[in-house]
């Protein structure tokens, strides 16, 4: 059973919001995703955050990179297929310029995927992250979510390196095919 259903405490998106706040991450840019909807709604509803949609994930990375350099910490939200558009931009902006852009990816393509295109493109995500030597964590459990996020955001800022958080359907429930 996914962690989401058996969990009695705060929802995953509430933990994410609290951990972003605890680390002064105020800017949230995103290309929408159904699984991320509660998090997107939460950051829009909370005046602590500056949250807005962008037309492409590349653009969102550029905005967060500029903001980080200018003293405003930010994170980019997207789904797996959006991450697949980013290899060049990640390599040549946050990685090359040592800017700690944070990425949060709702994982599609696994654990009951119904769209072949999503299942195929998902295969490219971890090889791209690993070949760029980008810090990345796949989060499957509520009891690990805050620790992984909090420590990794601190590490990203301290080491001036981007980081990517992959939210597994084990955590979020994912998107399921309704026949």
């Amino acid at each position: 059973m996914p962690d989401q259903e058996s969990h009695a405490g705060p929802a995953w998106h509430e933990i994410v919001c609290a951990t972003l706040k605890a680390n002064d991450v105020r800017l949230v840019t995103y290309v929408p995703d159904n699984v991320l909807k509660p998090l997107i709604n939460a950051v829009h509803a909370d005046s602590y955050f500056t949250a807005f949609v962008t037309t492409r994930e590349e653009e969102a990375v550029g905005i967060v990179a500029g903001a980080w350099m200018a003293g405003l910490r930010g994170i980019v939200l997207m789904q797996t297929s959006g991450f697949a558009t980013l290899a060049n931009v990640l390599a040549s902006l946050p990685v090359a310029f040592q800017i700690p852009v944070l990425l949060m990816v709702s994982e599609r393509g696994v654990l009951g995927e119904f769209n072949l295109g999503q299942a195929m493109v998902a295969r490219t995500m971890r090889p791209v992250l690993d070949s760029l030597a980008m810090v990345n964590h796949t989060i499957t459990r509520f009891d690990e979510l805050e620790f992984i996020l909090d420590r990794s955001i601190k590490q990203a800022a301290a080491t001036r390196a981007p980081a990517c958080f992959i939210l597994s359907p084990m955590l979020t429930g994912g998107k399921v095919f309704k026949a």
Partner: protein, 203 residues
């Protein structure tokens, strides 16, 4: 506007200027403004015009000068931020104009340097050579204060306004096909550190 007046300035009747000459004119007016130089010639001429600590020079990530500038503008609303971007680069990330129009950052100025070509890869024509008008596209996206500069004098006037009055602004210039005047020192971590120091974030 009276229909009997001279036709508005567009890409067809704007004077063809030179990127390095214009960049020097621009830099001469600046104080503490941040400038994001798009890839290739746009930032080569920014570098050649005389390095300033408030300059950021892109390497790769084609099309992201406007998004990076938007991020800086959101983080530092009291500082003017200028994106210098080429026609090919802007066409690649043209959706960013709609995002900028949506957020309406008062302190953001986009300068589009249109030579109608991918000069650095051999001069292949861009879509602006076939008539795509980046000012019309920007207005369509919702950046109402978008216009072509007819000549250097008008460019100076438009910049003076964009540096003092509420934006966002988009100023487009037609430029010739000359390459950049030299090349930026390609050292990304140093570029980041100097820029962050220049805009007061890092000691």
């Amino acid at each position: 506007m009276n229909m009997m007046e001279a036709p508005p300035i567009g890409p067809g009747n704007a004077q063809v200027m030179n990127r390095f000459a214009l960049t020097k004119r621009l830099v001469a007016k600046l104080k503490d403004e941040a400038v994001i130089g798009g890839i290739g010639n746009s930032n080569f001429d920014l570098w050649a015009a005389g390095h300033r600590p408030e300059n950021f020079y892109m390497l790769g990530s084609m099309g992201l000068a406007c998004p990076i500038a938007l991020g800086v503008a959101l983080a530092q609303p009291k500082r003017r931020v200028i994106a210098l971007e080429g026609d090919g680069s802007l066409l690649m990330q043209v959706g960013s104009l709609a995002t900028i129009a949506m957020l309406k950052p008062k302190n953001l100025v986009i300068v589009v340097l249109d030579n109608r070509s991918y000069q650095i890869t051999g001069g292949q024509p861009t879509a602006t050579a076939a008539g795509a008008d980046l000012v019309t596209m920007a207005r369509g996206a919702g950046i109402a204060q978008s216009a072509w500069a007819a000549d250097e004098e008008m460019f100076d006037e438009m910049m003076a306004r964009a540096l003092t009055q509420d934006g966002p602004w988009l100023i487009a210039v037609r430029i010739d096909d000359k390459p950049g005047d030299g090349a930026t020192e390609r050292d990304p971590p140093i570029i980041t550190a100097r820029f962050m120091t220049g805009i007061g974030i890092k000691r």
